[in-house]
Amino acid sequence: MTRLPLEKKVLSENDRLAARLRERFQERQVFCLNLISSPGAGKTSLLECTLERLSPNERVALLTGDIQTDNDAKRLARFGFPVKQITTGGTCHLDARMIERALADWPLESLEMLLIENVGNLVCPSSYDLGEAAKVVVLSVAEGEDKPLKYPAIFFKAELLALNKIDLLPYVSFDLEKARAYARQVHPGMEIIELSCKTGAGVDDWMEWLARRRESARAEKALPSGKA
């Protein structure tokens, strides 16, 4: 028996495609975000809030992933921005190939921002790089405050935690302080925004974060050294 060292990433094929997408996004100056949460935490609502506040002249497009139905695409289409539904037909996450396929007939030159709504799932999407500039994790206060400790991978990899449905705080036993502490235990210095897509509270903070993050991505592009 001989043991041969391999030292190869299991998802190297996905990583390769994601790197190619990231390069294309950077070349074409498209800012790409990957939104991840459990089902029902409010990814689509957050996107609705966002689209409502963006100027119609902004060149924004959306990809939304679900196992079945195009309900989310229908909800998002009414804002007039191009939306495409990716129906995975059973797969619990989006991967880079699905994004590449979905973008095949969309000219990237015509875009400034691409918002990707992943399949509702806190586990699997965290393993698949989609070429995005940043991942955002959405957690609602209707879930438990210990989610960051239970699903550390996504809270570690996401830049921002959007804590949604804070209008429900009086009715649920969600400990906001603990949620913040747990998130930062997993991811020291993690940015956290508390908001309610229903009442609009905190949505301005989110829009500000988005603007700031787009700006910093633009500045990064100006530097020749691309980050992995």
Binding site: L4, L6, K9, V10, S12, C92, C124, P152
Partner: protein, 115 residues
């Protein structure tokens, strides 16, 4: 849930290596999974067993090494394993430490029968 597609990616990688090794008989594949990788070793082993049987690669064993999260202290450079989310440096007490490992999802090695 995605453990099955990860198991499939492992098999694809093993197939490629087998070709490169001119069809050598591969008996075991070694995998490294970090605690931040978001992959469940039991679910992965189960998915792997199901996928590999009845293929030309069977019997093929999967050995998984689970890797803990590791941090390095920005002050004293001490490297330590994170237990119970304690991120402060156990050597000097500094809170400024950074993650240097624990999200691995890597094929570490293959065991090949000598011909």
């Amino acid at each position: 849930m995605h453990e099955l597609s990860i198991a499939n990616s492992i098999l694809e990688a093993v197939r490629k290596e087998r070709e490169r090794l001119n069809g050598a008989r591969i008996t075991k594949v070694g995998l490294r999974i970090g605690e931040l990788a978001g992959v469940d070793p039991d679910a992965l082993s189960f998915g792997f067993e199901v996928l590999v049987k009845d293929t030309e690669l069977a019997p093929l064993a999967l050995e998984i090494e689970f890797i803990s999260r590791r941090h390095e202290c920005s002050h004293c450079r001490h490297v330590f394993t994170v237990v119970d989310y304690r991120l402060d440096c156990p050597a000097c007490g500094s809170m400024e430490t950074r993650c240097i490992g624990g999200d691995e999802l890597e094929l570490a090695y293959l065991e090949v029968e000598e011909s």
